[in-house]
Every structure is written in structure tokens, then in C-alpha cells.
Symmetry: C2
């Protein structure tokens, strides 16, 4: 009874009908196995779009480690919650239900399923100088209540989780969707984590040299040195999932005819294994 955790990037969330149909097939035992699915999603770009419409342009910062992230002040957090837990989550749920998947939309904060340490102080690099920003509401995932997720799966539902977690002070905080999905996969002892995005996988020299397979932490670290932006974070998430015992992490293109089949056995993907 293998569990597959699926991350759906915000950029592909508007149309997941093909994927939803494949998940419905997997749940119905089309593969001859009793598969279980948990979905984690993003919504960063949509948040930025709505925030701008609301007259609250978002600020992005770069960490000393080279990762780009949103500076999530109180007002931005409200918008992030509204867009990811409301609009993006329910539109995903609607598509899943239309395909026959018994989707239950929620966030990581509900029932405190995903616990995170609020960063509050963010170390950032601006114009080459390090500085500290305060009042941030983003969090780093520390614990996942896998037992409750398994109970929900036992009840026949497919959790669809928005990227909001509960801090140790019981506040809503944002979480990175890729790394959140990795934590969920690790805690659930998932067989597999699939990170769906809008490119084929990790390219050594984008758009050339797609890397089909990465073996072990050493190769993975070498790939992270080369990767940029969102892909760098996906590889970091893969590293965290690998460390947590997930057997296989796939970064795959969702914009293909059969996204799940491609992620499992196709060409437009990067597989990371121990």
C-alpha cells in the first residue's frame, strides 16, 4: 500500500485534469496496486498577482545561501492565505472532484498537521550586503502529523494541502511548497515524492542536458551547485526527502499528455534515488 506524495506547482494548478484522471485511476487500482495519494500545492505567483491588484506589491529577497523568497509581512501573509488556501486550493479540489478523486482541501495549518518554526528574522543579501528583516511570517517545517494524514486516507479522502503551516506559537505561517511536500513525504514514509512543474526536470545547462537520473546525496549536491532559482529549491527539497528516507523523488513536467505515467516511467523527468 504505497503512498505517493504529489507536489503541484502553482504555475500548473489551473489545469490538472489529466493528472487528476490518472490519480483517480491509481486510486481505483488501475495499476493493480492499492495506491494512496497526498497532494501538496503552491500558489506563489498567483499570490503576487492578487497582491498587486490589492495595491500591495510583494517584496522578494535573497538568502545568503542564494535562495530567493518572499518577504511575508502580516498583510502579505493574509493575502498568501487567501490565495493559496482559498482560490488555488479549491480550484484544485474542484478539478479533482470532477475527475472522481475524493479531494479534501485543507492547509498544513489545519489540525496543526504541518508544524513550522516561524523565521521572523530573515537574513537577506541586499546590494551585496547582509541584513536582517523582521516581521516575516514564513516558516521552516519541523514536524508533520503523519498519523492524522493516514487516518484521513483511511477514511477514503485525498488530502490536498495548501502551503500554510502552523508555527510553534500557533500562528499561520507560509511554507515552501516543495520543501513542505518533502517533509510530508518523509513523515509519511512515502514510497515516492513527485514534484510537478512546467519544465522537464533538472537541466545541467537549461534548456540543454536534461539529467534523467541523480544517484545519491553527492551527485545531488553537485546538481544543486549548478541549479538556479526554483530548480535549486526543488533539488534541496529532494535532498531533504532523500535524507528522510523517501525512496524516489521525481521532478517532472506536468504539461504532457499523461503526467503521472511520464513521472513514473517517462522521458520528461529527473529521478533522484539513494
Amino acid at each position: 500500500m504505497g503512498t505517493t506524495v504529489i507536489k503541484i506547482g502553482g504555475s500548473i494548478a489551473d489545469d490538472v485534469r489529466a493528472l487528476a484522471a490518472e490519480i483517480a485511476g491509481g486510486l481505483a487500482g488501475a495499476s493493480g496496486r492499492n495506491e494512496r495519494f497526498v497532494v501538496v500545492h503552491g500558489g506563489a505567483a498567483k499570490t503576487t498577482e492578487i497582491a498587486e491588484k490589492l495595491g500591495k506589491p510583494q517584496k522578494f529577497v535573497e538568502s545568503p545561501g542564494g535562495f530567493r523568497s518572499r518577504f511575508t509581512d502580516k498583510e502579505s501573509m493574509e493575502i498568501f492565505v487567501m490565495v493559496t488556501c482559498g482560490l488555488v486550493n479549491k480550484r484544485l479540489v474542484e478539478q479533482m472532484l470532477q475527475a472522481g478523486v475524493n479531494a479534501l482541501g485543507m492547509s498544513g495549518a489545519d489540525c496543526g498537521i504541518v508544524r513550522a518554526k516561524r523565521k521572523d528574522m530573515l537574513r537577506v543579501v541586499e546590494n551585496g550586503k547582509e541584513k536582517i528583516l523582521r516581521g516575516d511570517y514564513s516558516g521552516k517545517v519541523e514536524a508533520v502529523n503523519a498519523l492524522l494524514l493516514h487516518k484521513l486516507l483511511d477514511a477514503g479522502v485525498v488530502p490536498v494541502i495548501a502551503p500554510v503551516a502552523l508555527s510553534n506559537e500557533n500562528e499561520l505561517v507560509s511554507m515552501d511548497g516543495d520543501r513542505g511536500a518533502a517533509s510530508v513525504a518523509g513523515a509519511m514514509k512515502a514510497e515516492r515524492l513527485i514534484i510537478f512543474t512546467d519544465v522537464d526536470g533538472f537541466f545541467r545547462n537549461f534548456p540543454n542536458d536534461l539529467v534523467r537520473e541523480i544517484r545519491g546525496a553527492k551527485e545531488l549536491d553537485a546538481a544543486m551547485e549548478v541549479a538556479k532559482g526554483g530548480m535549486k529549491k526543488k533539488l534541496l527539497a529532494a535532498r531533504e526527502a532523500l535524507d528522510a528516507g523517501v525512496g524516489e523523488i521525481v521532478i517532472a513536467n506536468a504539461r504532457v499528455e499523461r503526467p503521472l505515467a511520464n513521472a513514473l516511467n517517462g522521458e520528461k523527468r529527473t529521478v533522484v534515488r539513494k
Copy 2:
């Protein structure tokens, strides 16, 4: 093992800390009984506020029966989902979790728990004339999956349900929170439905003559003749709950020191019984 369904109006959702603490007490068996709670909430006013900020002022219409409602076109529906399922739902969940209630925020659409007939064509009265508006995404609740709600309660969670349902064509539609809560209470064979709002209850001549008790459908219908606006809809919801077999419906003020205790035994409430 009695079930109490609680409706929290959007106007009082910003601060439900006192109520959340009482629910936590009830769950812990403070009353000596094993109580179960399901929460349904609103969010109409907040939706109107955010819609205006987004440059999409909301249109309100009156039905031939004298009920005022939102004309929910496609874009308004997106905003309604965003605000009620995102912002309002998660802020309620956050307050519940802070009080120790294991809240699971969701909407009626998730898992198709609340099924509604989409109205699509809305009969409205404008300038004394009846006309038809098309393209509406509001729904009238037709069925509630009480079994799944009981399973969630069995798993130890408290469902907190946003006023969005799933249409028979598997689309997201808005639902009236009061009447949605009545449907949930009826389907779950709840002992009690409490509709929390920002006034004491039904007044024969607001703010004079608070009616403390209404007995039976006949008295209830007479009250509906007199009531206006939101209170008229609350009494309609009470009528629907009564017809569905709910033993006691309470309309109560949430802005008191102990809202739950007041709703059960206090002075600032209207109780409807068979």
C-alpha cells in the same frame, strides 16, 4: 453523544476566542457529556470589502420573497471562494487551534460534503419589476454527507466549514451560511443548531421586544413575516432545521462574555423549539 452545529457569522469571525475556549471545554467533557461540534461560517461582508478593493464591486439583488442576496457571477465567485475558504476559514481555524480545538478548515465543496443545486437563473425584483439574471454561481443545498462528517469527528477533528458547496455539475457554488448550517444540522441529526450573530436574537420591533422563545412552525412563520434582512434568513434557516428534525435552534449574540453558555441558558438569545 450529542452533536451541536455552530454557525459563526462573518461579522463576528474576527474574534471568536471566548467561544473557541468554551468549545474546547465542551470537547474536554467539562459538561460531563461527550459533546461533538461542527462549525459552519459566513464571510459575505469581508467578500464585499475585498471585491471592492479588487475593483469588482458586488451587486445585490432582492428575490420576489423579499430575501436579499449577492449576484454571484464567475469573477465574484472566485473572490467569494478566496475570501471565505481562505482568509475567513483559516483565521477561524487559527483561533480555534490557539484555544486547543483540533480544527480542520474545509469548505462544503470538499469531498462533495455539501451538495447544492446551482441556481444559475436568479429571479429578482428590480424597481418593482421581476426579472431574470443569468450566470449566477449560488446554490441551494440539497444534500449533506453526514457519514463523512461523523468519520471526521470520530478521527478527533472539528470540521470548520466555509460556505461553498459543490453543484450537481461538480462546480463550486456559494451557499447561504445560515441555511447551509441548518442542512448540516439536519443531516447529522444534530441535537442543536446555534446561529451566532452580533445581535441578541429576533426582536419583534428592533431593538425592542426580544423574543426569547418561539414554539412550533406556526409561531416561527409569524415571526418570519415580521423579521427583516439577515434575521429573516436566520428564521428561514431555523424553519428548515426544525423541519429536518433538529430539536433546538438558537439565535444568539456572540458578543458576550461566554457566548456558548449564553446560547444554552442565557438571556441574550432566541430559542426555537418544536
